[in-house]
Amino acid sequence: MVAKLSKITTVWIALVLVLLCVVFSVINPAAFPTAFNLKTLLVEAAVLLVLSVGMTFVIITAGIDLSVGSVLLFASMCSALAMNSMAGGDSTAAGADVAFVGLLVALVAGAAWGVLNGLLITVAKVPPLIVTLGSFGAALGAAQLAGDGTDVDTVPEGMREWLGFGNTLGIPNMVLVALIVTLLGGWLLTTTRFGRYTFAIGSNPEAARRVGISVTRHLIMVYTLVGLLAGLAGYMSLAQFGATTLSGHTTDNLNAIAGVVLGGTSLFGGVGSIAGTVIGVFIPAVLTRGFIITGVQAYWQPIAVGLVLVAAVWFDQSRRRARNNR
């Protein structure tokens, strides 16, 4: 079964993650292996994790989505504007009803870009790389246009307090949301027909078509799912930072793709797992934190992160080759 194959590769990449944690813990035992560090690590990785769960589905279909970061911004912009207009211009003091509408707007705005991406890829038959590169620019432009070029920085304080910084049973709500998305994503991918078709289309789209699977419909749904999750991520980012942060999220797409690929999902499609993606997202996150905590000089950090990423994938690839040649 597919799950079994990816489980084997997940184990090795998980070892890399564990090893990194051990090394940082040994270097700075007072700072790294702490509840505080774990909590903030999880909270800060939550947005990227939500994006990466969606990205996993797309990459398993042998597609790619470069637009996630911009769609995130677009969704958070629409959401913030909708909440502000509902609250008469400044939603800082608005209640849960306004925040809920904001969530819906973010989800719909994100999903709409996903539908557009999916239609262009399947119906107009433009390669995903080009379609999503186009919407990467277009969604950012649309967000800037909607906000007249400026960040919207009035967000319901209640939403920031609950989603951005609140806890449930000691677990930050940001982390809970990401956890639920991850579990649902894993369930969808491994146990349902939707997941099976995702693998089949990535493995051999022609075979899928010939057995009567509507490849067009399924791909549109997959791109819509990514868009929807980017919308959710946009809402989460809004709750965390209390502003639309238009200058940011430029490398979210590459970070998500890197996380997915690190997690053993093949860029050629047909192979992948959500568990792998979780680990793949946390490796760079742990590295970034670890280097700051252990006091590695700022200029060295990107070099070291880059080196470890390449080394981890090389390690994973050579393990896989060894297994395939057995």
Binding site: A31, E44, D148, G290, I293, Q297
Partner: protein, 319 residues
């Protein structure tokens, strides 16, 4: 059949582009036009600068033609400079997005006989512009160090969050801060971290630093994204207010955060004054009057209780 359809789509796309460019309006020419090319679209800092410049230009009988690039990026600013040069305005006011990369297109403009005034940022090659108006960034950093020292009782470890290595203005603020910090022997500089202009990265820097240094006393953030991210990081860590945060600039978001207690003090530039003196220098150059090569308008420290300074120096999103 198929070919006509493709042609129809192309025509539609082309006309859409034409309509869009028509709406935007091309660069304007003429001796009484001053082209204003800020670093990026939509930042309150540049908007306030534009407001100051616009008011001054109107007062002197000139029109200001703002041409902002979509992002703070020399590859986006270069074509704007070329287009503006071709339109031959009276003068160009620009915030170069790179001290070196913007040199070539601006030299081209200078060769075309257009006087250039640098606002906010400046080229490395001092021979291109007739005048540079920018905040004294090292001095502003120093103001930050003094303000932070006062807030933390002159002791404890301090973190600097800068945008990217190579951004001359923010790097100068960080340097000025570090320099001035040496005057306080009991305050320890933990060094400078770069957030790559991503708020999320600044949050990570703050929480990771707190993990290693729970006694962190203060943070100096050199621009908007680093301040926003640092405030979120402190809130994640439950240390808002405990760790003193000093931000640079006074955009509405930062002012609101300061009022809400997430930020304790802001070092504000005076973008409207920068814009106004930039216009004055450009007009002086056009009219053959003496021009000041370098102008360094003052910066101020604002705290939440200082309502008067706040009202005067807070950046605007609209004129």
């Amino acid at each position: 059949m198929r070919r006509t359809r493709v042609a129809a789509v192309l025509v539609a796309l082309l006309s859409a582009v034409l309509v869009l460019t028509a709406c935007q309006g091309g660069a304007k020419g003429g001796d009484h036009t001053l082209s204003f090319i800020p670093g990026t679209k939509g930042e309150p800092f540049y908007i306030s600068m534009q407001c100051g410049a616009q008011a001054k230009a109107a007062e002197l009988g000139y029109t200001l033609d703002p041409q902002p690039p979509d992002k703070f990026d020399p590859s986006l600013q270069t074509p704007i400079v070329s287009a503006v040069t071709a339109a031959k305005p009276g003068a160009i006011l620009i915030a170069p997005t790179s001290p070196v990369a913007m040199g070539a297109p601006l030299k081209e403009a200078k060769r075309a006989g257009i006087p250039i005034v640098e606002v906010d940022t400046a080229l490395k090659d001092r021979s291109v512009a007739v005048s540079s108006v920018s905040s004294d960034n090292p001095k502003g950093g120093g103001l930050g160090a003094d303000a932070l020292a006062k807030l933390v009782g002159e002791k404890g470890p301090v973190l600097i969050i800068d945008t990217t290595a190579g951004t001359s203005t923010t790097n100068a603020r960080a340097r000025g801060f570090a320099e001035q910090l040496k005057k306080y022997p009991e305050m320890k500089n933990l060094g400078t971290q770069y957030n790559e202009n991503e708020a999320s990265k600044a949050a990570t820097i703050v929480t990771a630093t707190l993990a290693a240094h729970p006694d962190l006393a203060g943070i100096f953030a050199t621009n908007l994204s680093s301040t926003e991210g640092a405030a979120t990081g402190l809130r994640n860590a439950g240390k808002t207010g405990q760790v003193k945060l000093i931000g640079f600039d006074a955009s509405p978001k930062q002012v609101a955060d300061m009022k809400a207690g997430a930020i304790q003090a802001l070092i504000a530039q005076d973008p409207a004054a920068i814009g106004a003196s930039g216009v004055q220098q450009a007009v002086n150059a056009l009219q053959g009057k003496p021009v000041e090569r370098t102008l360094l308008p003052d910066m101020v420290t604002i705290t939440a209780d200082d309502q008067a300074t706040l009202a005067k120096y807070a950046y605007k999103t609209k004129c």
